[in-house]
């Protein structure tokens, strides 16, 4: 993080470079604004439709400002899917999986960064190689295994195989190698800290930026995961949010009510958007730190 700061401070010292050419900065601003509009508009559109009646959604020209149906659409979402149940399912799976990935990544990354042991190089290369295996090869046998273990319709089937991440271990190793001095470990040993607990008592507090970024990436991946829960979970009450949402679209009896569909989507998207907006600064700092060290 320290290096990221100095780099930006250095750029801050020479503002004359862009101030000279206003045309260039106008073009720059136009491009950036356009990009932000491109990114943000679908979200705005989603919230607009979520507050309309089903008829209004299909009017021409389409509605561009909020309507008054937010509450009734919300109620209708709850009639079609057990939204809060699905929300809790997603939360339980994502939080547990993220916590485990952070723990095991910190442990693995720390071992690879700070210790020498027989077979270290081979084990590390092997781990990197597993990153190249696409998840899709594993889907069929993974499902067989879940059936064999009796984990169909069970969150274990999503959480336990997803509790470790080669990328996570790699990410933490890169960060620890660049930011944790060996002297710190020696000092802890002299103070009588048992070897096994040095990581958790002394080192872990230094890893916050990298753990934060990895945590957000893992949480996002888990929260948004679709194919595996779609295959594994069988009852509506066990569904995660993305799977439940796909149900809103396909409701065969009523046809798709797009206002309700958008209301459900907005309800699913809003929490994660809020969390991200408030953690964005730390996330970016962690990402930059990781990229520099890596």
């Amino acid at each position: 993080m320290a290096i990221g700061k100095t780099a930006r401070e250095q750029t801050g010292k020479e503002p004359s470079a862009t101030a000279k050419i206003p045309l260039r900065s106008i073009v720059l601003w136009a491009l950036v604004t356009l990009g932000i509009l491109f990114s943000a508009f679908p979200f705005y559109w989603m919230f607009v439709l979520a507050t309309q009646t089903a008829q209004k959604v299909f009017s021409f020209p389409p509605p561009l400002w909020f309507g008054a149906e937010a509450l009734s659409n919300y109620r209708e979402v709850l009639e079609v899917i057990p939204f809060w149940r699905n929300f809790m399912n997603s939360a339980v799976i994502s939080v547990t999986q993220t916590a485990l990935v952070l723990l095991f990544s910190a442990m693995g990354g720390y071992a690879f960064a700070m210790y020498d042991f027989p077979g270290k190089r081979q084990l590390f290369v092997f781990m990197l190689a597993t990153m190249m295996i696409p998840g899709i090869v594993q889907v069929v046998p993974w499902f067989m295994m879940m059936r064999w273990l009796g984990w169909v319709n069970d969150f274990k089937g999503l959480i336990i195989p997803g509790a470790v991440s080669a990328f996570g271990v790699f990410w933490m190793r890169q960060y620890i190698e660049g930011s944790v001095p060996h002297e710190l470990l020696d000092a802890a040993r002299i103070d009588g800290c048992p070897e096994f607990t040095i990581l958790f008592r002394v080192v872990i507090s230094l890893l916050k930026p990298a753990l934060g970024a990895l945590g957000i990436m893992t949480f996002m991946g888990s929260w948004n995961n679709f194919m595996q829960p779609l295959i594994l979970l069988r009852e509506t009450s066990r569904f995660t949010l993305p799977v439940a949402l796909s149900l809103l679209k396909g409701d065969p009896y009523r046809g798709t009510n797009y206002a309700v569909l958008m209301a459900g989507t907005a309800m699913a998207v809003l929490p994660i958007l809020t969390v991200f907006v408030f953690s964005a600064k730390r996330f970016m700092a962690g990402l930059t730190a990781g990229a520099i060290k890596g």
Binding site: T130, P134, F196, T265, V269
Partner: protein, 312 residues
């Protein structure tokens, strides 16, 4: 093992050696163990089992039936496989090339924003699409793409163009619909990765180059891009895997069939149908291996292109 009293026992030497080994290496081995144990059980075993399955005909219930290379042979003659291969490569290439180039240029521009607070807002704005669930955003885009009432067709007709029949006709517009959504979702992600890489570059290099009379574009092409190569390679490999295994977007937008003329049927969607729709688990396994081989080949080409592997 922990019996120091039996002094004459020759095993004692062995025991103390083990104990010394545990004391020296116990911590690192314990710390890396969770990854390898879980990978062996839930990663390696399924992959090997899948390999075994790919030589069998199996519906998942009755006994597996050995068929040799028949599944692989059938792949080569299966027109649906080749169609999904074409669809996937088309979507992956047409989505990624402009997206990664734009992301790189945007990262360079955003890095020029000196006001810190403003830069944060811009970065967050770009990143938002990547945070949200692909199913949710695909739902939103399915309303933007509405044929008679969709937002995009409203814009097109109000500026005098003819509306797009997104899901009907020859199926021509199915792929662009998926591509636009894909670019929208991942542009900011790649931009942020490049930006993180950019901000790690020592700015004194730029100053030195500027003093030597290098122009802005020379600096970009000769200094920035070469120093970003590891980051670019990371996004390329990630994109290869993401592009070839694209599933959520076509699933929601076009349905499991892939839409009109199967124009949106990607490899992953096709695999899903074979395994969980038709119960052809053996064939689906061979299918999965073919996809993996494809990803490996493209990743190796990427590595070669950027000079890795030659250097050693």
């Amino acid at each position: 093992m922990a019996q120091p009293s039996v002094a004459a026992n020759p095993r004692r030497g062995m025991g103390s050696r083990i104990r010394r080994f545990v004391r020296r290496y116990g911590v690192p081995y314990t710390y890396i163990a969770p990854f390898y144990i879980l990978f062996l059980v839930f990663g390696a075993f399924p992959i090997l089992f899948s390999f075994y399955l790919s030589f069998h005909d199996w519906d998942g219930i009755s006994e597996a039936f050995f068929v040799g290379f028949e599944n692989y042979a059938f792949l080569f003659t299966d027109p649906v496989f080749w169609q999904s291969m074409y669809n996937t490569l088309f979507i992956a290439v047409v989505a990624h090339v402009p997206m990664l180039l734009t992301a790189l240029v945007l990262a360079f521009l955003v890095d020029l924003i000196k006001n810190r607070r403003l830069q944060e807002i811009v970065r967050t704005g770009y990143f938002l699409p990547a945070v949200t669930s692909s199913v949710a955003v695909a739902m939103v885009f399915s309303t933007l793409y509405g044929t008679r009432y969709g937002f995009i067709n409203w814009i097109l007709t109000s500026i005098g163009l003819s509306p797009i029949d997104w899901w009907g006709g020859t199926g021509f517009w199915v792929k662009p619909a998926i591509i636009i959504l894909f670019i929208w979702r991942w542009l900011g992600w790649n931009m942020i990765i490049y930006l993180a890489g950019l901000q790690g570059i020592d700015h004194s290099l730029y100053e030195a180059a500027a003093i030597d009379g290098a122009t802005k574009s020379q600096i970009f092409l000769r200094i920035t891009v070469p120093l970003l190569i590891p980051v670019i390679l990371f996004t390329l490999i990630q994109s290869t895997i993401g592009g070839i295994t694209i599933f959520d977007e076509p699933f929601v937008l076009a349905g499991t069939s892939g839409g009109t003329g199967k124009a949106g049927l990607t490899l992953a969607l096709n695999l899903y149908n074979e395994a969980f729709g038709y119960g052809n688990f053996g064939y689906a396994s061979a299918f999965a291996y073919a996809i993996t081989a494809l990803i490996m080949i493209i990743s190796l080409v990427n590595l070669r292109l950027f000079g890795f592997g030659r250097a050693r």
